[in-house]
């Protein structure tokens, strides 16, 4: 097991390195494009262009440029945006990251609990009224776009019933956890629910399908022939085997969301997270920020995948040898 973990983390580092090289090449070595002009932004003055040339070492060989870039990003943290003159990229990301992490981790806790409960209850009650009911609510939650759901939630909590039922809901925005945990949670509760709805629906449906498959497996028949209770068969045998595919789904979703895919929720709910930062930098073609965000997103996707693979090996002994 420790060897497996070490091997998996090593390969994650290799993947991250190759991603950084690819990102660098796309931004700085695309043929026919002058990186200086793109970094400096639209209608930049010749002085600014020269400044960019010097800062990024654009007249030096490619490998040196790569190393300079990584030095700016990871060692000196002084990669600078030329669109919003003077704002540094890395501190921007470090400021946005806790917002996204708070949003996504909180939502993930909700959607995993709701999704797993929903899937298990539906599978345990196949053929009864409650099963199609849960599946219907699930498909409804999957079908509603996050921006629409977010707007509706905002409408009810911020204006329509804000003076009565939802008077305890603070205005949109973010309060750091370290500053005031209660305010942090109050600000995030509706963003959490908005983001979790989609994923809870998906997870409940996927898990139900997996469980129904598992319940038809021979080993479930064996478990029944052993004289185990239905509950034990469902939880210890069927659910335990079904979790394997849910975990891999979770890793992909979680990594992507931390990496900025929670954009819609962040924008609608006014949360200055990574998604919002990426969105703004894309709109103003702020290349250094875009690159920083891409690297950051890649880091979390790769990390989440590595964690999923390790969890996989914990859950399924057959994977450990490979």
């Amino acid at each position: 097991m420790p060897a497996f973990i070490a091997r998996r983390l090593l390969s994650a580092v290799l993947v991250l390195f190759s991603i950084s090289v690819m990102v660098f090449l796309i931004f700085f070595a695309t043929p026919g494009v002058d990186p200086a002009a793109r970094i400096a932004g639209r209608s930049a003055s010749p002085q600014v262009l020269a400044q960019v040339q010097a800062a990024f070492g654009l007249n030096r060989p490619l490998p040196i440029r790569y190393l300079l870039m990584m030095e700016h990003l990871f060692i000196k943290h002084d990669l600078t945006s030329y669109v919003n003159i003077g704002s540094k990229v890395v501190p921007q990301i470090l400021q946005a990251a806790p917002v996204t992490l708070s949003l996504v981790i909180g939502a993930a806790v909700i959607w995993v609990i709701v999704g797993v409960l929903g899937g298990v209850i539906a599978a345990a009650n196949r053929g009864k009224f409650i099963d199609p009911l849960i599946m219907f609510v699930g498909i409804a939650a999957v079908s509603v776009p996050a921006y629409w759901l977010g707007e509706v939630v905002n409408f009810f909590t911020q204006s329509k019933f804000h003076s009565s039922l939802f008077s305890w809901v603070p205005g949109s925005g973010y309060v750091p956890l370290t500053q005031n945990p209660l305010e942090w949670a109050l600000h995030l509760i509706f963003p959490w629910l908005t983001l979790a709805a989609l994923y809870a629906g998906i997870y409940a449906r996927v898990l139900r399908a997996e469980l129904v498959n598992a319940l038809n497996e021979d080993y479930v028949r064996t478990a029944r022939a052993k004289g185990l209770s239905e509950r034990r068969i469902l939880i210890r045998h069927a659910l335990r085997c079904s979790l394997i595919s849910v975990v891999s789904l979770f890793g992909l979703d979680f990594g992507a969301l931390i990496g900025g895919a929670a954009l819609l929720t962040e924008v609608v709910m006014g949360l200055p997270g990574i998604g919002m930062l990426t969105y703004n930098s894309l709109q103003s073609l702020d290349l250094p920020v875009i690159m920083g965000c891409v690297m950051y997103a890649a880091f979390f996707v790769v990390l989440a995948n590595a964690v999923v693979d390790i969890l996989y090996a914990v859950l399924d002994p057959r994977v450990r040898i490979a």
């Binding site: 053929g127 497996e217 021979d218 080993y219 028949r221 064996t222 478990a223 029944r224 022939a225 052993k226 004289g227 185990l228 209770s229 239905e230 034990r232 210890r236 045998h237 335990r240 085997c241 859950l315 399924d316 002994p317 057959r318």
Partner: protein, 329 residues
């Protein structure tokens, strides 16, 4: 077991999987149930333990286990019987074990479901059982996962599990079908040996007359959910009375036979959706008569019963012509 009937409501009508099956299993007796795929032999045994989970199923009849009616008991009541008084061995050992737990854990789970022992005690009992079924180095193997065992070894694990609570009755559903021939022989030997030790009764379900000949004391031959012939193993194998049994015995390939062609029973098994009102085997039977439109009842003497309209004289005549032509030898 008396007049067990199992049917499924389907869109094409009522599917009669088991239609009037009755037999007894005495203490320490080995009963073989033999028949083609789809003859209802597995369904019959699964249904008595409530292992047929289809909501469209209808089960009637009477099954008494140690004097107690068990048909129609609730899941909770059956839990004590399943795995405790009645152990089960399944056809495919590759899929019968939960892949994510060690074999020791799975055996201990069953022991702890039926008796109040500590985890430690259950595990040492599991090690004991694994040794008993011939798994080398059981103290190490107990911590291995099912995928680390070969098919034959896994079937040994399943047998160890089935025996873990000293069941009075062991139901073995085609225990050797998924194994290769040498392993088959080992598993059958093992089951015979363990039966001596544990003194359980065994119901062995198979389509292989060879397994019957080696293991069974008495035999039930099933066709299309109905019993075709019941009797002591020696009577049924040596002096089969039902034309279907003749066919089954003829279909066992023999090394010493000069016949190069494999003997088959013409036609295919009837669909359980429309079993004929009369004798179910009639459409495939060489000796069909007018009276076969009517369903024959089991009859016979000295515990050797069959459901066929042929009278003794006809049978003697048919058997003598057949054995002289060498077809069903």
């Amino acid at each position: 077991m008396r007049d067990l009937k199992v049917s499924f409501a389907t869109r094409q009508g009522e599917l009669r999987a088991v239609d009037g099956l009755s037999f007894d299993v005495g203490p320490k007796e080995v009963l073989g149930i033999v028949g083609e795929s789809g003859s209802g032999k597995s369904v019959a045994m699964y249904s008595i333990l409530g292992l047929v989970r289809d909501s469209n199923v209808k089960i009637s009849g009477s099954v008494k286990f140690a004097g107690r009616e068990i048909l129609g008991l609730s899941d909770r009541e059956l839990q004590g019987i399943r795995g405790g008084d009645v152990g089960m061995i399944f056809q495919d050992p590759m899929t019968a074990l939960t892949p994510v737990y060690t074999v020791g854990w799975q055996i201990a789970e069953q022991i702890r479901a039926h008796s109040d022992v500590s985890k430690q005690q259950a595990k040492s009992r599991a090690i004991e059982l694994l040794g008993e079924v011939g798994i080398p180095d059981p103290a190490t193997r107990v911590n291995h996962y099912p995928h680390e065992f070969s098919g034959g070894m896994r079937q040994r694990v399943v047998i160890a599990m089935a025996l873990s609570c000293n069941p009075k009755l062991l139901i073995a559903d085609e225990p050797t079908t998924a194994l290769d021939v040498t392993t088959q022989a080992q598993i059958l030997d093992l089951m015979e040996k363990l039966q001596d030790v544990h003194q359980s009764s065994i119901v062995i379900i198979t389509h292989d007359m060879g397994v019957i000949a080696q293991m069974a004391d008495r035999v039930v031959v099933m066709y299309a959910g109905r019993p075709a012939e019941i009797g002591r193993e020696i009577d049924v194998v040596r002096h089969p009375r039902h034309p279907y049994t003749w066919g089954l015995l003829g279909a066992v390939p023999r090394v010493d036979s000069k016949n190069r062609r494999l003997v088959t029973i013409p036609g295919t098994s009837v669909s359980p959706l429309n079993v004929p009102e009369g004798c179910a085997f009639a459409p495939r039977c060489e000796y069909r008569m007018a009276i076969c439109e009517e369903r024959p009842m089991l009859h016979g003497d000295d515990g050797h019963l069959d459901a066929c309209w042929l009278d003794d004289e006809q049978r003697v005549q048919i058997r003598s012509t057949v054995s002289s032509s060498g077809d069903h030898s």
